[in-house]
């Protein structure tokens, strides 16, 4: 076993020890693991034909019963089945758009922090512009113009949510580049690419990880809001279920089993991501460690 591997293993062990001390973060992680496992197992244990409106077997808008534990929707489909399949869409869009937002944010942030002068000024101008604009409104316009589909929604959320990450990463990049070893590396002839990928990126990576977790949370909320406002991916997600419940009068007719479960699922998953993100931040961000 080489020296580097041993050190890395020790680092992971220390990280896990610190993370375990964050109780809320542990709860969050437990909920997340359960949600992801459930959504992965859905195709194995359920039959997607129940999602087809024409082949629905239940009564319309029936309250919970033994056959349908969470009741049925306006065309007699099982709410539980829709929730399980919807979780796949909601989580997938949440992960993918957070990933896209992270990639844009990290690239812009490191570039703006590394190259001083006008490239940095232009990039930060654009970042501030995205930061100020109401991102939901922009995402809605993007989704409406580009037309429905999972990739459109991912694009719309990703493109409108990277600005705060870019600011954070830029600040961290500036701090890292001021360290003596980066200067030493430059004197030894390291190019821009080498400094950015070998010195800056590894140092900002923990921050990126914590931030991604928080971004997934807001991406899931954004996805459900977009779906509710009519910009859905064409597949049933938790957001589009709530849209359906509103359109079919479940809210005013008191069909709580159609309104409560999808919303509770969103809140649970988003809360879990937020708790995890905050715990990660507390463990990984040296500035917060002393304070907490």
């Amino acid at each position: 076993m080489s020296e580097a591997t041993a050190r890395r293993r020790e680092g992971i062990a220390r990280f896990w020890r610190d993370y375990r001390a964050q109780r809320a973060g542990l709860y969050g992680a437990a909920i997340l693991v359960a949600a992801v496992l459930a959504s992965l197992a859905t195709p194995l244990v359920t039959d997607p034909s129940g999602l087809d409106v024409t082949r629905a077997t239940g009564a319309k808008m029936a309250p919970p019963s033994l056959a349908f534990p969470l009741g049925t929707d306006e065309s007699g489909r099982s709410i539980l089945l829709m929730i399980m399949w919807g979780s796949r869409v909601s989580l997938l869009i949440g992960f993918l758009s957070a990933l896209l937002s992270m990639v844009i944010g990290t690239v812009v942030g490191i570039t703006a922090g590394h190259f001083r002068g006008w490239p940095s000024a232009v990039l930060m101008r654009v970042t501030d512009w995205f930061l100020v604009l109401p991102s939901l409104v922009l995402a809605l316009v993007l989704a409406a113009i580009l037309g429905g589909g999972t990739s459109t929604i991912v694009l719309a959320i990703g493109v409108t949510s990277w600005a705060s990450t870019a600011r954070l990463i830029r600040a961290q990049t500036l701090a890292v580049e001021a360290r003596p070893y980066v200067e030493r590396s430059r004197v030894l002839g390291a190019g821009h690419w080498h400094v950015m990928t070998r010195h800056v990126l590894p140092n900002v990576a923990p921050l990126v990880l914590a931030n991604t977790t928080l971004t997934v949370a807001s991406a899931i909320v954004t996805e459900s809001t977009l779906a509710f406002l009519g910009a859905d991916s064409g597949q049933a997600s938790w957001g589009s279920m709530l849209r359906g419940s509103y359109d079919w009068g479940a809210v005013t007719s008191g069909a709580w089993w159609y309104v409560l479960p999808p919303g509770l699922c969103i809140v649970a998953v988003v809360l879990a991501f937020t708790l995890c993100g905050r715990a990660l931040e507390a463990v990984l961000n040296p500035r917060l460690r002393g304070a907490a």
Binding site: V141, S224, F228, V259, G263, I266, V267
Partner: protein, 361 residues
């Protein structure tokens, strides 16, 4: 009041710490150094805002030309037209001219307040927006007032009893509220308080700002207020939590300061230390942040108005998305973005003017 506000050059504020006294102040009552700095800052911010607005206009122009298919058909959706009419329309929209010329035309018209014509409503977009502005201002204004008051008050209490039960409770509440999608909260309130669940009767209207049989005179105000309750609560719940968090952390910063210790040592009562010394100082950054994040309120308004069919700009935007009515979408998008940019710049400059610490820096 611990934040002195000088109202003009006559007040003669002290020069900033970095400059020689009397250097900038002498000649015929000219602006002193600190105020000149503020003016320079304000002009720079104004320039930035104009640039941002320009970027919005450019982005809007190109974004709405990315619509797949023939724009003339996209804009007149569901309105049957003969080929001749379509041709005329294309010429009216300037689609037969080169792109730079179209862009110039678009900018000039926007500057004159001409945002195009909606084919759904068969009316100018600017007129539609003007009609919907009032209800939105009413909802956002009321919501923001309540949210800021509640957020600052609760944030102060949480910070003052730092680590106590109230602190943990309100931090937890704000965490949960942050995770709740606005529209779902709206649906829940609608279900419980407007439609009624079980023994709870529906006590609030389910939609709109007024009913067809709305009473006249002073009763009309009450009628609208009755309709306003649920949308307002929804909006407040979504935004007040962040004000609470900001106020809490900003007051916690102040509590550690020496002047607070001095005030205590002078023998002031707890409430006096809090209300006359710590809170005013913590309030400034908080209120600024509130207005810097006005974009979130706009987003909340769009969703809230949709859930409650509140006849404001947000509902107009939603209807345009649903249509889709691209002319209205484009106009509303620009108006919302410009409004947010203007509010942001105002908050930024005002903070600079009001905070002596930033001003003299």
């Amino acid at each position: 009041m611990t934040v002195p506000i000088e109202t003009g050059p006559a007040a003669g504020p002290a020069p900033g710490p970095g400059e020689a006294p009397g250097k900038d102040t002498g000649k015929d009552g000219a602006l002193s150094g600190a105020w000149r700095g503020v003016l320079r800052y304000a002009l720079a911010k104004l320039g930035g805002a104009l640039l941002s607005i320009g970027m919005v206009v450019v982005a809007t122009f190109f974004l709405f030309r990315m619509i797949p298919g023939d724009p003339a058909i996209a804009y007149t959706r569901d309105v049957p037209l003969t080929p001749d009419q379509l041709d005329l329309l294309r010429r009216q929209m300037g689609l037969d001219r080169p792109l730079p010329e179209q862009f110039l035309d678009f900018v000039l018209k926007a500057l004159q307040g001409d945002l195009g014509t909606s084919y759904e409503y068969r009316r100018p977009v600017a007129e539609l927006i003007g009609e919907r502005l009032g209800p939105t201002l009413l909802l956002v204004g009321t919501g923001l007032t309540v949210a800021v008051t509640l957020g600052l008050w609760q944030g102060t209490r949480a910070a003052w009893n730092h680590g106590g039960r109230l602190d943990r409770f309100s931090t937890g509440i704000s965490l949960v509220l942050w995770s709740v999608p606005t529209f779902w909260l709206g649906l829940l309130l609608l279900m419980v308080f407007a439609a009624g669940v079980g023994p709870i009767p529906g006590i609030f209207p389910t939609r709109g700002m007024e009913d067809v049989d709305a009473p006249g005179g002073p009763l009309y105000l009450l009628h609208v207020a009755h309709h306003l309750v649920l949308p307002c609560i929804t909006l407040v719940a979504v935004v007040y939590a962040q004000y609470l968090v900001v106020m809490r952390s900003s007051l916690l910063d102040e509590i550690g300061q020496d002047y607070v210790t001095t005030a205590r040592a002078k023998g002031l009562r707890d409430a006096e230390v809090r209300l006359r010394h710590a809170v005013p100082n913590a309030m400034l950054p908080t209120v600024t942040l509130v207005f810097l994040h006005i974009g979130l309120v706009v987003q909340g308004a769009v969703t809230t108005e949709t859930v409650y069919s509140w006849p404001g700009l947000g509902l107009l935007f939603y209807e345009a998305i649903k249509g889709p009515d691209f002319a209205v979408m484009q106009g509303t998008f620009m108006v919302l973005c410009v409004a947010v940019i203007v509010m942001n710049t105002l908050a930024d400059v005002l903070y600079h003017v009001l905070d002596p610490r930033v001003r003299s820096a």
